[in-house]
């Protein structure tokens, strides 16, 4: 499976990759994007199976990325990994078509709980 990780922090992209591995999702093809704009282009070019995106990023935020993808008719599975875990943001993420929102700081268990439900 191909997983795209969008986060403007390099260390956070590494941590998400590491946590995926610790949660048992090993051996997947990982693509990294540095912001929402980069992620949009890479989703179109690389057709990942899943997008794990930060919320606050320069150029294009995570929610703008999700809305742009859905607006372009792209139905890629999409979840947020973000320090913005307020109920309002969860509601907004869900309304735009996100499958889950994992709040930072997270644990491998949080990844398993979110991903086991959507990766079949």
């Amino acid at each position: 499976m191909k997983i795209l990780i969008a986060d403007d922090s390099k260390v956070m992209r590494q941590i998400v990759t590491r946590t995926l591995r610790q949660a048992g999702y090993d051996g997947h093809d990982i693509v990294e994007a540095v912001d929402g704009k980069d992620a949009f282009e890479k989703v179109v070019a690389e057709a990942p199976d899943l997008v794990l995106s930060d919320w606050n990023m320069p150029n294009m935020t995570g929610i703008e990325l999700l809305d742009a993808l859905r607006g372009a008719g792209n139905a890629v599975r999409f979840g947020f990994v973000t320090s913005e875990g307020s109920p309002e943001m969860r509601g907004r993420a869900e309304a735009s078509g996100a499958l889950f929102l994992i709040a930072k700081p997270f644990t491998p268990e949080a990844f398993r709980d979110a991903l086991d439900a959507v990766l079949v």
């Binding site: 390099k10 260390v11 320090s83 913005e84 307020s86 700081p105």
Partner: protein, 160 residues
């Protein structure tokens, strides 16, 4: 709307150990005051009106150990930074990300939305109003933080 509660020590420990992927011990410590003589990292957190909600100050060892640990940079890298009294760009960037994620400590149910607004590195003295907040006596937590495999530093969390 102001942040009403200083984050609980257990919440701080859990956040740090989750982020750094290693055990973190927390004990009462001495306040950290960022000054020309005491090098530290100061993080400013704001609410949705961009009013200062909280300040977190980390001394040099805390900045170096946590910034190295989160990026899997060996302990020697952190010790060199402490000796040189300067963080490498990657350790600084990493520690800024630790401070970014710590914003979640303030974002409890019923509390205002708080986000990291700015950080001041070791040799960038914050403006006086922030220094004044960092010296406030109440509504604060001063901690000694031990990062397993690295070492101990000090962290102060102060509500505005």
């Amino acid at each position: 709307m102001v942040v009403k509660f200083v984050p609980h020590e257990k919440a701080i420990r859990d956040a740090l150990s989750g982020l750094l992927f290693r055990d973190v011990e927390i004990a009462q410590g001495e306040p950290v005051v960022h000054s020309a003589t005491e090098l530290a990292t100061t993080a400013v957190y704001v609410d949705d009106r961009t009013a200062t909600a909280a300040v977190v100050i980390a001394d040099l060892p805390m900045s170096a150990y946590a910034g190295a640990a989160i990026g899997l940079i060996p302990k020697g890298g952190a010790e060199a930074a402490i000796e040189d009294r300067e963080l490498s760009p990657s350790v600084k960037e990493n520690f800024d990300e630790v401070l970014n994620v710590l914003a979640s400590l303030f974002n409890a149910e019923g509390e205002p939305h708080v986000r990291l607004y700015q950080t001041f590195g070791l040799k960038e003295l914050p403006p006086n109003d922030l220094i004044a907040i960092s010296r406030t006596l109440g509504r604060r937590s001063d901690l000694k933080v031990t990062v397993a495999g690295y070492g101990a530093g000090r962290l102060s969390v102060v509500l505005a």
